[in-house]
Symmetry: C2
Subunit: 379 residues, 2 copies
């Protein structure tokens, strides 16, 4: 199978490297690599004109690992219209343009695959598809962003403060110069949107979803929770009718509490399978490239788990009145009816709904932590 | 697709139940259920004569969930020779007769699948196959037996002693009347034999393998390790050239330390993917049946990940001189040259080889615990 790669940064070069392995090179040949003209590094089979790829009938599959949204959306669309399979690691494009792109793929009789878009090297999308063949999946949740986990894990283990560890993460290349996507929840939100489509075939309205940044956390907070036997993790959760992205206080005996460094763990709950958890490197050159190559292998073997999407494409996640317990640290006043008790600087709420929290607009800069109990995550 | 089920105990009835779900009943029909004549319960489509299944050309796939070794081996062989696909949950048969049965399947152009044989509902076999398409897998390890994990987890959390918890597990149906397979390591050994074939395509000589029972553990031992920040788990590990099944002292901050109740976790290490971990219910009616039905779905869609086994079938796991640190509690004398230090009742060894341990025949009834460090399991 002849392949083109769009983008030759970390992941693109990783895909190229893995495809040079002896057993894979026999079957797949990277014919053209297109990347931005400003790139000066040595690019194998460099191709400056995207039309040369679109018009090359022998190229059956295109890997998109450019980053950004508008250019990739345009290019993925054109590749699909040219009846080329597309594999992408781009969660932002898939989360925003899921319907247009999956429909385009269907209309043109080709595949659009994005295993690498959620959980990097973890085979999450595939295993969600497999589970959903048999079960109604009721919930997906987990640590889906490696940068935020690296920050929290290092704050705990090295007793450092948020800003110092964030800088360290930026120096190590784990965090972007603008870290907002990672620490304010938008990266996790994209991953939950994609997971919800695969697990429930339901849409998620990003504006209707409770996303609270992790950036208010201090090493004092980490110690406070540790003393109570809880580890603070940045977690996203989505069900058929509710969801949350925020800091979570997880009992230290729970699997999630132990996830080290920049690793991810993603869980699903199914009616017959119970809880399944998938752990691995959620980002990084070779793990992410590995997920891309897994998609290439499946497409080349014509492996597809789900027959057709059933046409519930208009079903949306419909916010119900689920009640959660939160711990809040803020200098602002909070509606007294929400508070069950105070503990030093911390306010512990009654079980309240996310709407109750959202209405407290003065909490924008507060620390907000959801408290997890055995009832929340069944093992 | 028309299906027969051999055995209608816990897993067999679970498979039947899942296949009655609306979306699956359209595609799969359980035509005949064969089980031992002594069974008196109501069996749907009961069939007393196995020849009626063998001779029914319309039955394309047979599920074997009988238990035992010799009868299942005979029946699986006959079904494969009749060109029927076989799905089994029977780890003992697969571990013992891997070559004969996979060759029979190949010769007859049908599939032999056994996802449920390792890790129950966890999609372990499938994910090992997927990882091995790209990577050389260097190691598989984990908590692969739910009964032993239930015993250790309950001893820790309820401060009970081994014998009492074992009895509780037997009352709950988690442990057999003869618990030897679970607590002496033979169940885990079968699972490692199968994992090694899938991960490395290498054979494992059971007699050459270090298996040490968990039954010497007391609540005093659990406390001793807990005070050192370690949780005791019963773990199997296999690499290309070494392996061990024994109690392990795992730092309490490691994922494995947190696995609750009768759950399993299985890990693999690959050169590009890094470490992947898969968690879920390692046994039980519906999770195990779920894994059987996953195999049925893959066979019906003709999904196969691995093109052909490469013909290294004679390669065996070749015991090297890996060095591990052990902690031993025994009333017998131990070769002084092996011991680095003592701590109360406990002897802490220098890093020694498994052959060194095996040579200490007087240790048969000792507590032997392998000590795990960050260097052993990379995250």
């Amino acid at each position: 199978m002849k392949i083109a790669i769009l983008g030759f940064g970390t992941v693109g070069s990783g895909v190229y490297e893995i495809l040079q392995q002896k057993n894979l090179a026999k079957k797949f040949s990277v014919e053209k690599v297109w990347c931005r003209p400003s790139d000066t590094m040595t690019i194998p089979n460099f191709c400056s004109n995207i039309e040369d790829i679109i018009n090359d009938k022998e190229i059956e599959l295109v890997v998109e690992v450019l980053g950004g949204i508008d250019v990739p959306f345009d290019l993925i669309s054109r590749m699909l219209k040219s009846k080329k399979h597309v594999v992408t690691a781009n969660k932002a494009v898939i989360a925003r343009h899921y319907d247009e792109l999956t429909n385009l793929a269907k209309e043109n009789g080709v595949s659009l695959s994005f295993e690498a878009s959620v959980g990097g090297g973890i085979p999450w999308i595939k295993n969600v598809e497999l589970a959903s063949r048999i079960d109604n999946i009721s919930k997906c949740y987990g640590i889906l962003n490696g940068t935020s986990n690296f920050i929290l894990d290092t704050m705990l283990k090295e007793d450092e403060d948020f800003g110092d560890v964030l800088k360290e993460a930026q120096d190590l290349g784990y965090a972007e110069a603008d870290p907002s996507a990672d620490i304010d929840g938008f990266d996790v939100l994209n991953k939950l949107i994609i997971s919800a489509r695969k697990a429930f075939n339901k849409k998620l309205d990003p504006d209707d979803f409770f996303v609270h940044s992790m950036k208010q956390i201090t090493k004092g907070d980490i110690h406070y929770f540790k003393q109570k036997g809880q580890i603070v993790k940045y977690i996203g959760e989505i069900t058929h009718d509710e969801g949350v992205i925020s800091l979570h206080a997880v009992p230290e005996t729970f699997v999630e509490a132990t996830i080290p460094s920049n690793n991810n763990i993603a869980s699903l709950e199914g009616q017959t399978i119970g809880t399944l958890k998938f752990y691995g490197q959620g980002a990084g050159k070779l793990p992410t490239a590995n997920a891309v190559v897994q998609d290439i292998l499946d497409i080349s073997k014509n492996i597809s788990y789900i027959d057709t999407d059933n046409d519930e494409n208009n079903a949306i996640i419909d916010t119900k009145q689920n009640h959660y317990t939160f711990i809040i640290r803020t200098n602002e006043s909070v509606d007294a009816s929400l508070i069950k008790e105070t503990d030093g600087d911390y306010l512990i709420t009654h079980p309240i709904t996310l709407s109750d929290i959202k209405k407290q607009t003065q909490l924008k800069d507060a620390l907000i932590v959801r408290v997890i109990t055995q009832e929340d995550w069944h093992d």
